[in-house]
Amino acid sequence: MIAALGLLVGAVLGLILQPEVPLWLQPYLPIAIVAGLDALFGALRALLDGVFSDRVFVVSFVSNVLIAALIVFVGDQLGVGAQLSTGVVVVLTIRIFANVAAIRRNLFHG
């Protein structure tokens, strides 16, 4: 409940403040968001499976975001940033699909 509220509050804050995205963050923000979404869906799945732990969620969220950003950063340094971000997005999207599929099974067939 409070998590959904947090999401809403964050979105509203973003709309109200309308901050500029800093330049150094621009390549990483989209990837970080996708990674965060992946962590969120993973948490939802764990919750429905009854194995949710807030510590695990926090660690997975932070590490997901950091690793995604790191991969893109390394890719940029190696000159394959565009390809690596595509790869990261693909992998994370697959994970999101898998998590959503698990959630759906849990809710409608459990």
Partner: protein, 247 residues
């Protein structure tokens, strides 16, 4: 959320309800902050993509590629520009030389027209009036004297004197100029000549010159210098039948 239901057999819906109604704990606060961050980021990114230029968020490689293609296009346009400039310069200079040639042609036409007698001429000169039995010899001498003094256009009465002009004695006195009778035993012949008037006048009046010769023939001669002498008798241009351009 941090107190999962102990029964694993409970359905997902039940767990969801439990979680949604659960009292927020400290662990949930961290989760809420993370979710807020996520929402914040999403809104930020969506806004950035919507409002900002595509270039601002583009990668260096893409930018370099874009720059490259722009450079190439720039180069192409530059070369096109210089081509067109050259063409324009060529056309302008062509126009100039064309104009110069036209002016040259017009000047030459005037020159030749005055020489050939197809154009009327006006300018300073002398008007010579001869009264009495003017002979062809006297006319010829007068014309030669005038030409020698630099006369540029001459007319006798209403006959233009040109290169092919002939002076023929008329039976019974007088003269024919190009087949036209200009003088008889009596009467007045008017010769108009354009040139430097003082030179023309003095060439006729030198001792033993035209005026003296005329006096011996009982012809009275008056020479008048004028600022504007009109030589407006014309002569049709005759194309040469036999002479060809030999150059």
């Amino acid at each position: 959320m941090n107190n999962p239901t102990p029964s694993s057999s409970t359905s997902g819906w039940h767990r969801l309800r439990v979680v949604l109604l659960a009292r927020p704990g400290r662990g949930q606060l961290v989760i809420a902050v993370l979710c807020a961050l996520l929402g914040f980021g999403i809104v930020l990114q969506v806004r950035a993509v919507r409002t900002e230029e595509v270039l601002a968020s583009a990668r260096p490689q893409d930018l370099v590629q874009l720059l490259d293609s722009l450079d190439q296009r720039n180069e192409r346009l530059d070369s096109e520009l210089s081509d067109l400039r050259t063409l324009r310069d060529k056309l302008v200079s062509g126009q100039d030389s064309e104009r110069a040639a036209a002016a040259e042609r017009a000047a030459r036409q005037t020159e030749l027209g005055i020489l050939a007698g197809t154009l009327p001429a006006v300018g300073p000169g002398v008007v010579v009036r001869m009264t009495g039995p003017v002979s062809a010899d006297l006319l010829l001498g007068t014309v030669q004297e005038l030409r020698d003094a630099g006369a540029e256009a001459i007319q006798i009465n209403s006959v233009r004197v040109v290169a092919s002009t002939a002076f023929v004695p008329k039976a019974g006195g007088g003269a024919l100029v190009d087949g036209t009778s200009v003088s008889g035993p009596t009467g007045t012949v008017t010769i108009s000549a354009i040139g430097q008037s003082t030179t023309l006048a003095s060439s006729l009046q030198i001792p033993g010159g035209v005026v003296d010769t005329a006096a011996a023939d009982q012809v009275k001669v008056s020479v008048r210098q004028q600022d504007t002498v009109k030589v407006n008798a014309l002569r049709p241009l005759k194309a040469p039948d036999y002479a060809r351009n030999g150059s």
